[in-house]
């Protein structure tokens, strides 16, 4: 009976979490051009910078603030590299279904984050960072890298993956710390 209750609680939590954050999943999309891939890369980084800006305004937790500072600085560095590359290649980033979905989902998440405060905000922010980085790593590895045509763009995307994985590891560490 107790096991049944725990299972039910677990399933309820999983369903609740899946609705709590709008984590992008792109199982089926048409092949993206390099201009579209560049747009996805820039938008994905801009979104995490916007989450970090909210965290810097709302949190007083030093681990959250330090993490947010790192996200703002690292994702800006990646955008700078991406912008420099598209300039060099003469490509103009082009909006597409993936970048539009990322942007619209992020609006929902930002609304949710802004509605919280204190420890509830810290938890919501870091839970979202864990989920968001998992989703972005998956998108970069399974969608953007395989579909990139230009070698330099592909190389840049491949170089970004270790940074994203380190962010995920860092986010999980903060998540574990604040949940104690």
């Amino acid at each position: 009976m107790k096991f049944h209750m725990n299972c039910k609680a677990l399933i309820t939590s999983i369903i609740a979490c899946s609705f709590m954050f709008s984590v992008p999943v792109f199982a089926q999309v048409n092949k993206l051009s390099d201009a579209e891939i560049a747009s996805v890369a820039v938008v994905a980084n801009q979104i995490d910078i916007s989450y970090a800006a909210i965290a810097k305004m709302k949190s007083k937790n030093s681990d959250i603030l330090r993490f947010a500072e790192t996200m703002a600085s690292d994702h800006k560095a990646v955008i700078d590299q991406a912008v420099a590359l598209v300039k060099k290649l003469g490509v103009t980033p082009k909006d597409n279904t993936v970048s539009k979905k990322l942007a619209s989902d992020s609006e929902k998440t930002k609304k949710l984050l802004r509605s919280k405060s204190g420890a509830a905000f810290d938890k919501a922010y870091i839970d979202n960072e864990v989920a968001y980085h998992k989703a972005v790593i998956s998108t970069v590895e399974s969608l953007l890298i395989p579909q990139a045509s230009n070698k330099e763009l592909k190389d840049l995307l491949q170089n970004v993956v270790p940074t994203l994985k380190t962010h995920l590891e860092h986010a999980i560490m903060v998540q574990n710390k604040i949940s104690k």
Binding site: T70, S73, D74, A77, V78, Q81, N159, V160, P162, T163, K165, T166, E169, H170, M173
Partner: protein, 114 residues
């Protein structure tokens, strides 16, 4: 008076002998210190562990997309301050130490002084 002169001459003589012996003694070879490089790339210190001698120099070069630093743990007794992409920072080793990147706290390294 004569005894004092003899004593004075003796002291001068001894000083000269010591000076000559000292200047003739073999020259101690200067200890050569090595310079080691740690590359910061793919969000890792490579190599993560380095065995060195006292007085050796370690140069950390940031070859990543993002800024890093090199900071002693647990006491933060020394730090590089931020090392932007393409830049480097060096340290003359005086003792063994564990270190990390205080910006990306999961990145860690170790200096082992023999």
């Amino acid at each position: 008076m004569r005894k004092a002169v003899i004593l004075f001459k003796g002291i001068i003589h001894m000083i000269c002998v010591i000076y000559i012996l000292n200047s003739c003694s073999p020259v101690t070879p200067k200890k050569v210190h090595n310079v080691y490089t740690v590359e910061i790339k793919q969000m890792k210190f490579q190599p993560a562990e380095l065995v060195v001698q006292k007085g050796d120099t370690i140069v950390w070069i940031n070859r990543d997309l993002v800024t890093h630093d090199v900071t002693e743990i647990p006491g933060k007794t020394w730090t590089s301050s931020p090392i932007p992409t393409g830049k480097s920072w060096s340290l003359v080793v005086s003792q063994s130490a564990d270190y990390y990147c205080s910006i990306h706290v999961v990145m860690k390294g170790k200096i082992l002084m023999q």
